[in-house]
């Protein structure tokens, strides 16, 4: 009981209380409000605001655990099931991608699961890439055309497919990478920082390597992100994990922190041009903050295997989107109907849930055997 009055549960409870009061107040006001001609009724507005909050909460919960921005789930959903303008969807998508990362920063930094030095190092590189990408986007788009953009998406999809397959077969090597040799540049950066791993109940000190390689990779990720307005979470986790040997849970936590930091750069142009509509974006922000905080508390406690399976699901889903969009832009296939995307989503995450349940059963049996 006393725990409920201590951080972080105290702030969660305060937010929940204000949220419940706000939605009750909003319901009382909205349902009684007179609807002007050509306007939306107060009841419908309340329904949308509540629905958006609920969906945002669910997206944030899984996005933080997987170390991705929620945009990979939000954008297809909004474009598929609503008639909202695509620029408004993309702009609100940034709010969705960044706020779960921002609020999860607190618990991750306190517990040491995220590493601020790695995040700042990567954000500096990501910022250069994203800045150059955004500035050169119009020029390059002119020269690349739809076919060029399609080829880039196809190439990214194939890279991601390879990574996802490696994540499937890599097992423990992915969760806790081994470092045989630390190079001079990485040693000079002093990036390593031991932390207490709650799921293993011990302190983990992880050596890192190839920081120069990750610098180039993150500049590249930022560049593509700036060119095409693509989300970057799915690329940041494998880049840290496979190149620099950052343990998977740390890479996922860093990715959340980094998305929060990096999207502070990306979001302002949209805010300044009016593409973020405050009353429309507000419930998404609230859902991300509450869901992101709970997601962070879950990530601190879960085993790395759980994160790996969830991330594999996200990588395959993002890969499907990149490959089909790329092929469609090249004119090889027609645009994919949204119901197929829905079926693929349900199939991938149905399999992920099945594997996770099996994983937990196996873990429980191992515990019993001990």
């Amino acid at each position: 009981m006393r725990r409920l009055f201590r951080s972080p549960w105290l702030e969660v409870n305060v937010m929940l209380l204000i949220l419940v009061l706000a939605y009750i107040g909003l319901a009382l006001i909205s349902f009684g409000a007179e609807t002007p001609p050509d306007g939306m009724s107060g009841g419908a507005i309340w329904g949308w605001l509540f629905g958006f909050f609920f969906l945002s909460f669910a997206i944030a919960l899984v996005a933080v655990v997987g170390g991705i921005g929620g945009g990979v789930l939000f954008t297809p959903f909004m474009l598929a099931f609503t008639s909202v303008d695509s620029l408004i969807v993309r702009a609100t998508g940034l709010i969705v991608a960044m706020f779960s990362g921002l609020v999860s920063t607190g618990p991750f930094m306190r517990g040491g699961l995220a590493n601020l030095k790695i995040c700042i190092f990567c954000a500096a590189a990501y910022g250069i890439g994203a800045f150059s990408g955004a500035q050169g986007a119009i020029y390059v788009a002119k020269h690349l055309g739809a076919a060029g953009e399609g080829l880039v998406r196809l190439a990214l999809g194939l890279i991601l497919l390879t990574l996802a397959i490696y994540f499937v077969v890599g097992g423990k090597k992915i969760e806790w990478p081994e470092v045989k040799r630390v190079d001079g540049f990485t040693k000079w950066l002093k990036l390593t920082q031991p932390y207490y791993e709650v799921s293993l109940e011990k302190v983990i000190d992880y050596p890192l390597t190839r920081a120069g390689g990750v610098l180039f990779a993150i500049v590249g990720v930022g560049l593509l992100s700036g060119f095409f307005g693509l989300g970057a979470g799915w690329a940041i986790v494998p880049a840290q994990n496979l190149i620099m040997a950052v343990p998977l849970k740390v890479a996922a936590a860093n990715s959340g922190v980094l998305l929060g930091m990096g999207d502070c750069i990306a979001v302002w142009p949209y805010l300044m041009m009016g593409a973020i509509i405050p009353l429309f974006a507000a419930p998404w922000l609230v859902g991300q903050v509450l869901g992101g905080l709970l997601g962070a508390l879950i990530l601190i406690r879960v085993k790395a295997g759980f994160v790996r399976y969830l991330l594999i699901g996200f990588m395959f889903f993002a890969c499907f989107g990149l490959l089909t969009k790329g092929l469609s832009m090249l004119g090889v296939i027609p645009p994919i109907p949204i119901w197929i995307t829905g079926v693929v989503f349900v199939s991938i995450f149905g399999s992920v849930i099945y594997v996770i349940v099996k994983y937990f059963k196996a873990e429980a049996q191992q515990e019993e055997a001990r």
Binding site: P36, L102, V203, G226, M261, W268, G274, I277, L285, V286
Partner: protein, 142 residues
């Protein structure tokens, strides 16, 4: 390598995390209250919520939606002149949250400066500069 004692986290990391965390929470609370204010006095907003939501779900773009306001889009920092309106107050919450990394990174840079860790101080200031350039409209998206 693993040991059994919980390591102490660097000061810059704790300070950054706390600043970001609390600003995000305050921004969320503002965004919970903002829509209630907006619906309680629909005329006292930059955009009337009834028309705003109808336009959004009619598929209108941002420019068409803001054309419903007197004088069109009043600029990204319109909360400065409309702080007490529902949408102005909500925009303030959004702007506060979207700029929180500036404050967190500046504080972290100060901690690194005190530790004489000039590399990370410089990198933190560099990221602040990028956010600042973006917030004043120099970095543009597409």
């Amino acid at each position: 390598m693993s040991t059994e004692n919980r390591p102490e986290m660097p000061r810059a990391q704790i300070v950054y995390g706390e600043i970001i965390y609390w600003i995000a929470i305050v921004a969320a609370i503002i965004c919970m209250i903002g829509p209630v204010i907006a619906m309680s006095s629909v005329e006292d907003n930059v955009l009337n919520p009834h028309y705003l939501f109808a336009s959004i779900f009619d598929g209108k773009d941002a420019q068409e939606i803001w054309s419903l306001a007197d004088g069109g889009f009043p600029g990204g920092h319109f909360y400065l002149d409309n702080f007490t309106t529902g949408d102005g107050f909500t925009q303030f919450g959004l702007a506060l949250g979207c700029g929180c990394a500036i404050w967190g990174l500046l504080a972290a840079a100060f901690c690194y400066l005190k530790e004489k860790n000039y590399l990370y101080m410089f990198l933190a200031v560099w990221v602040v500069l990028l956010i600042f350039l973006s917030a004043i409209g120099i970095v543009k998206g597409h």
